[in-house]
Symmetry: D3
Subunit: 300 residues, 6 copies
């Protein structure tokens, strides 16, 4: 039985935390509204995914005549959810009652959905063409973490470019948590993009990726150096991540840093560390490992 | 308040998505049944895990006399869940009412469960022997992501070899999402297998792993090249991933590609990139890094 | 319809599993109590996080006068949850009714919470200073996986040092599953710590990290060799992971193994493999990759 | 702590219950399918109610353009749920795979929904005209238990007359549990029907009620005697409940039994006990109570 | 398997329902906000009840120091929930953005809570004094439906008198559904009120009940006649229900109708039908039943 | 948006409630344990019901071999839940750590379950014999509120006689809320008992009911007077409710009060008010109502 004793000093801890909050500045004060809700954003993305691929993520037993009503209602509910979160994000920067702007953002985003679906469809086909283990398009839509990551990214990017960095980031970090793929919502990615396995992939905010690019797990498209201003603070927003042109393949664990360009049709080998541009059709590989007969010693 | 205005053009977006679906071919049409349910497969695996390790994942306060009824009921419920999902997968390839085959698959799978448990028990002991940080067998069963990954894999593999690639893949991707360990259900793995930390491990479809093998985070056992047929399409199903013999250790971040053989007792160092077979008792290490005194410059 | 036939041999499988359990030793028998609950520990951490950062994780619409009652109640509920789990863990080692010790542990842990919050606040500021993509402190608190990982770690570590390795490990593995960052609860980490992206980071049990250290994805601070005793069993608990001094930066994919010291102000390059100590202000980089023009052959 | 002891004799109780089941005949054996699900029927009714009155039971913030998609999807989902339960009920009487009949039943039921809505609308107006406490039509739709009861009844009756007594009864008993109004699904009820307060109202299987009838709490329209056949078993299905013609009012607690007719425009007083027909425009009241000055004795 | 055929004509039914909605007037159009949420009101009442009686409805294991934080947070959350619903109700009558009025209503209601608790405490004691079956005050607080009904009523009445008839009615009908006791939120009820058993009790909108009154199941305090205006519409709001003075007992099934006064200290017998005032200390009983020896005939 | 202002005076209300609690005596202080949980007791009853009638309340698709494991596990879980609640109730009267007594109570209760099932089976058959509207035994088990009420009562009574009045009362009030049938757990009821419709039935603590008794809605078996002791407090526990012998039928709305005996085979008419014993085979009916032609006046 859990006995009802005063086993800890609750009042002292509450006071201590209150004092900490008062001294520190990671606060929302005064604020007009609440932060966007991560649960709501998750419902939004899941609803959207079901509306985009009703055969795969819609309800059991959906018949043809039920598809459009399902899509219509699910989409409408998802957009209403988004609308409320957009209002919250806008309120954080002082535009608390700016309903018209929220309406316009959501409406414009909604109009992008057919194109977003087209992009995802191209990603699915790219996976089928690029993975010998893929047995069907259904398996890819339904199971592949790369498709999950891109579903989140294509949506998050469409919100990021409409001035909603926080809402977009919440979506991106959800994909990161589920798939291990960390794509900043600001990254620009072309069609027919395929990330295989995906865990550990990092794609930075200002990266630009062309069409038909393929990445494997552990690939980083990162920044090399972080220029600071006169006060020593980081300068934010500058282009600092790679440009990857069409038809490039980057193998597992490769790290490419800085505003370099990987020329079209290039192949970057696994575990490569690269901080320079390479011309089109380059083939970059790592120096080979040393091999020797094991001497039976105590581990490596 | 969320005002009830028509802020976006719902009908236009629904029509746009409908047009996209009509043009594209990632569809299930006509289909006999629904796709397997990811939620149901998750319940199946969790139920099975509780039936395999009732002390660790069973209900609070279970007394000895309650164990077998708990195992019996939980197992039966899990197998009934599986049975329904098997029917769904079989229906995708035109065998919609083939109940007898589903019955036979589930019955055969059920008979494998004692052996699956034995395999997992050997994995737990391997972790205890291989990790100085492990304080008890309970901690390993209850907390180690490598055990979670192998619980999913040993189940998924048993379903994969029974002709259920989609159901198996759903299970594998669940493990991938939770643990960051991506093992294709087709991979063959011996006893006393230990993956430490695990994030970023990738083991391909045709990999074959012996007994008492130990892997660390970020290890890839992948394919090197993807042969295509005369039409340029990938040839699927060919052996293309490594064979790892008994008693091999592969350290963090090593990448081994192609149908190569890592001889028994070998040790592959961290971050190594390897595309050739190595004989038994090899010891492979990466070329060392360059070291220099830091000059205080602006980042790397 | 799922027909009610006896499609598998339930009794045989139950008996088989019972026989397996009887032969094996991964059991809790006899035990006084149940294992700690992972669901309860998750509620504990989420409650604690809301009590630490009520603006970001508290309820919608919380007004100033509601903050302290919210913090007080949420904290009290979280501590009561913890108390029950502590009793369970203590009971595993034979101290089943040792309520006073559980009370003391929880009370002492509670008194640490203001300091834990201060540490997390310093981590948030470190992220803002270290990431050009960060747009606000709110985004960091609310979205950054590195902050999620450190929230779990600072709590888990405080429990680990109070003699609760299992409860601490459950928390650590939850962070690992969500963020891909695997920090053993035993690791000692200073203030203003920033892990960017995070997936694949591994920090071992006896690692010691100073102030203002920054890590990127895929960094391993691991053990190099595992000494065994006369019976061949691993010697547990020995210092075997790196010491990282103040103001060190370690880039993506670097692997540092063994009880080495990375001197203050050093910079370790991406994908570096390092098993030796380096002096203060060192700058370590990987040997560069080979570059060549791609010949159009069939993959890498 | 709940200790894991064998505190009761589980095996003996299980065996005792098994023996009871074997001796008794309230069993479903052999059966083709499962019983309908009460949870599913509750979802069905709630979904239907939202589709019938989307302004009152639909989602928050529904805009005009969203109404038809909401109705379409919600209705479709409700009908699919019903379809599955219809298959289950049909299977209880040996028609396990008779899909076409289930399809026809659901399709025919669906076509009745506009008329069902019209009937409910008339009930709402009747309540507004009949209750001085009603402040708005919204209050009636949203709060009045009589409307809840009739929503269930009009749906249950439509299923009862289509040969689904069990599914209909499940719906009727749900209304009974929520409102205290017990209307057998077989009862025939006209338009503009108003039950005020409702608790304790009982309306039997073969009752026939005209238009514009008003009932108060505790009214029973029951059977008077139960004829038996030669074996002493009840004869089922005979008309045995009252006929209540148009424009009748029956006040609280009145009990009317047998196949009698209450003529149009009649008024039946509270607590009246009536087992005979009365002509049109009758006014029936109870004999008045005795009144006396209280003597201060010990209760009544 | 549920096959994906178009078994019913969804579009036709949707169109039919749309046509019905267009013809009828039970609509909310145009509306500014949504209707109050029944789920939210239920959470509000449950939260309030826990804040009023934390020992009985608070969390498990609450220690003394935790009580006030629990009450404070739970109350604050309940009041925030109420605030949102108040805004919705106010918006139905054209005061959509009238936040200040909602603030004032909720603040004033909050100030009434100590008095509401005092009233409930007096009800609990009245039950203990009035029911020989009551074994403890705890049993009454925790189990008695009369206390549940009065908890809802005292809250609903406090909202009704503040101009929120719909929100109040939602609360009252929740109590009705749970307890079978139907008290209109407008009814005025004194202290130490005890309803035993309760099912079927109806207390009308303008009833006025004194202190220390006791009612049993099935008692109606209703209206006798409903005056209409020149157009035949009911005149709403007139006093039309009984006045029950202090220390009256009304036994099971009694029906009292009209604006009559039951004098203080009176006792009204079971099943009595009363439409006239009675002086103080009256004792009213029903005419006795006829008794005869049963003749063995076929039912009653 | 809900703005974060301090709209009510939270601290004042919390202080007011605290002051109320301090002045009043409906408190649990000091207490050893928590009150039993109503949610837990609901789970207990539902689990028990499924274990008693697995065909009707067990899982979908249960095959013969799965029945005993299902019953065993479900029963064990229900008994463990009960065990915890028994500990809580015992702790309220100072027996906080009296585990052995709780064990004995639960074990003894468990041994009663086959007899409880037998009683319920007899009730189901009584309903089938007594209700012309009953179409099958399944309908009765699955839908009839009288069976729901008796399932709760037979369980609650078995706990009441084992010294658990509070736990028993929680169960009884759950049945009351669902069915409108209020049977005190102390009431003694024979086999083959049938309550039809049920709403408003009240059966008091010391009532004794024989075999094959049938009741209809609104029947009260209550107390007539409440003797007090020298201090004016009620004397608790005295026999004060009716004895109903075998084969009695009591029709809707009848009220029988006091320790009277209704002789075997008697029939009590609807709405009868009875406070005297009647001999065997009596037939009691109410005085008939007055009938007259309605004069068109304004209501009754």
């Amino acid at each position: 039985m859990s006995h009802a004793r005063d086993s800890w000093d609750l009042a002292r801890v509450v006071a201590g935390l209150s004092a900490e909050r008062a001294q520190q500045d990671v606060r929302l004060s005064p604020r007009c509204c609440d932060l966007p809700s991560r649960e709501a954003m998750a419902q939004f993305v899941d609803g959207l995914r079901a509306a985009l691929f009703p055969d795969h993520f819609g309800p059991r037993g959906l018949a043809p005549q039920g598809v459009d009503p399902f899509v219509g209602y699910t989409l409408d509910a998802a957009l209403r959810t988004l609308h409320l979160q957009v209002l919250r994000e806008l309120s954080l920067t002082g535009e608390c009652d700016e309903n018209p702007r929220a309406d316009a953002i959501v409406a414009s985003f909604a109009d992008d959905l057919p194109a977003i679906r087209r992009g995802l469809e191209s990603d699915v086909h790219a996976a089928y063409r690029g993975d010998p283990a893929a047995t069907s398009l259904h398996e890819i839509v339904f199971c592949y973490p790369g498709v999950t990551a891109m579903t989140h990214h294509r949506v998050a990017h469409a919100l990021h470019v409409r001035g909603l960095p926080l809402v977009a980031r919440v979506i991106a970090e959800r994909a990161h948590a589920i798939t291990g793929v960390d794509i900043h919502p600001g990254a620009t990615i072309g069609g027919s993009f395929f990330i295989d396995h995906g865990t550990g992939v990092v794609i930075g905010e200002t990266a630009v990726i062309g069409d038909r690019v393929r990445l494997y797990q552990g690939v980083t498209l990162g920044a090399k150096s972080f220029p600071t201003d006169a006060t020593g603070a980081l300068i934010k927003g500058r282009p600092r991540h790679p440009i990857v042109e069409d038809d490039v393949v980057i193998y597992a664990g490769a790290t490419i840093l800085g505003r370099v360009t990987i020329g079209r049709g290039s192949s970057i080998g696994g575990n490569v560390w690269l901080t320079q541009s390479v011309p089109a059709h380059s083939r970059i590989t790592q120096v080979q490992a040393r091999s020797e007969v094991f001497d039976g010693g105590g581990g490596i």
